[in-house]
């Protein structure tokens, strides 16, 4: 909780009472102190997440046995959860195996990065910066549109995404722009904002309870109720930590599930 306690101390040392944490707490300074090198704690954590995921799967599947060892069993279970639970259920057919590598990588990359928010000393989920989530959703946008165009051709694909079947013709002028907006423009935005805002709100909540608890316990004066309120704030902070654990897993799952749904939608013959 390094930067959290630092922020709390800064606010208190300045002598102007409690300062609620805000979006500024999510901005880290450049490590090399210049704006050209995009190295900060958040982007380094992203790289670390990629390394952790790659190393886990490479090491556990290095010597494959028919009777699996414990690590191999664990990584097989993790892989088959995405393969059977997401890819096969949603995309199905003969196509789903092509997307299993993408979906598996995506799920575990997001999961590990989200869990960084709860690891002591790291204490920051990179996807609580919107830019990283935008990049990920942009990738998904390129994939599902590219797959659809490759399958159907450009204009038939556009028709598939914007003209719903079985609708009377007079309502189409209203429906086509709406479908275009929701399927091709809003989708990546909600996809990225969902991941970003969940991690952002969770981290903000944790920061608020931690700094607020510290302030109430050690610095605030006045009513005798202040110190019990500080203890209550710490307890709530711990409970929110467990909530964050659920949210981290759920958001990784939802992101992967929606990616699979979008891919399925652009592969479908008619809808």
């Amino acid at each position: 909780m390094t930067h959290v306690s630092v922020d709390g101390m800064v606010g208190i040392a300045a002598g102007n009472g409690f300062q609620a944490p805000g979006p500024a707490d999510f901005e880290f300074p450049d490590i090399f102190n210049g704006n050209q090198v995009l190295l900060a704690k958040s982007s380094l954590l992203l790289v670390l997440g990629a390394i952790v995921v790659a190393a886990f799967f490479l090491i556990t599947t290095r010597r494959l046995r028919i009777v699996p060892s414990k690590p191999q069993y664990f990584s097989e279970e993790a892989y088959s959860f995405v393969r059977n639970g997401i890819a096969q259920d949603i995309i199905g057919g003969r196509d789903y195996m092509r997307f299993v590598p993408l979906l598996t990588t995506m799920f575990f990359f997001i999961l590990v990065n989200n869990l960084f928010g709860l690891v002591p000393f790291l204490q920051f989920a990179p996807f609580s910066r919107a830019g990283f989530a935008y990049a990920l959703a942009g990738m998904v946008w390129v994939v599902y549109n590219g797959v659809g165009i490759a399958r159907h051709g450009f204009f038939p694909y556009l028709k598939l995404q914007t003209v719903p079947a079985g609708v009377p013709a007079w309502i189409l002028p209203l429906l086509v722009p709406l479908e275009f907006l929701s399927n091709l423009i809003i989708r990546p935005i909600t996809l990225s904002l969902r991941l970003f805002a969940n991690m952002f709100a969770g981290h903000l909540l944790l920061t608020l309870f931690a700094t607020g608890g510290a302030y109430l316990l050690f610095h605030a004066t006045g009513s005798f109720l202040v110190k019990p309120a500080g203890i209550l704030s710490f307890i709530l902070g711990i409970l929110v930590g467990f909530l964050e654990l659920i949210v981290s897993v759920l958001q990784a799952y939802v992101f992967t599930l929606l990616t699979a749904t979008y891919i399925q939608g652009s592969l479908a013959a008619e809808h």
Partner: protein, 69 residues
């Protein structure tokens, strides 16, 4: 302690998705209770509906931070 009225507005805006998510999981729970073997089929659908309803709340919180009075 400062703050903006945006957050109150966000609280109001979160009521709708809150009700929606409640309805979705209520339907999921009762569907699973009636036919437990359908649970694995219903789960992705429930989570998907939850994610779509939640999108409204998410857009709300983004706008609450972005829009300055």
């Amino acid at each position: 302690m400062g703050g903006t009225l945006n957050m109150v507005g966000y609280g109001l805006a979160a009521i709708g998705p809150g009700i929606g998510i409640g309805l979705i999981f209520a339907a999921y729970i009762s569907g699973t209770a009636r036919q437990p073997e359908m649970q694995s089929r219903l789960q992705p659908i429930a989570i998907l509906g939850f994610a779509l309803a939640e999108a409204l709340a998410i857009i709300g919180i983004a706008l609450a931070f972005v829009l300055k009075p």
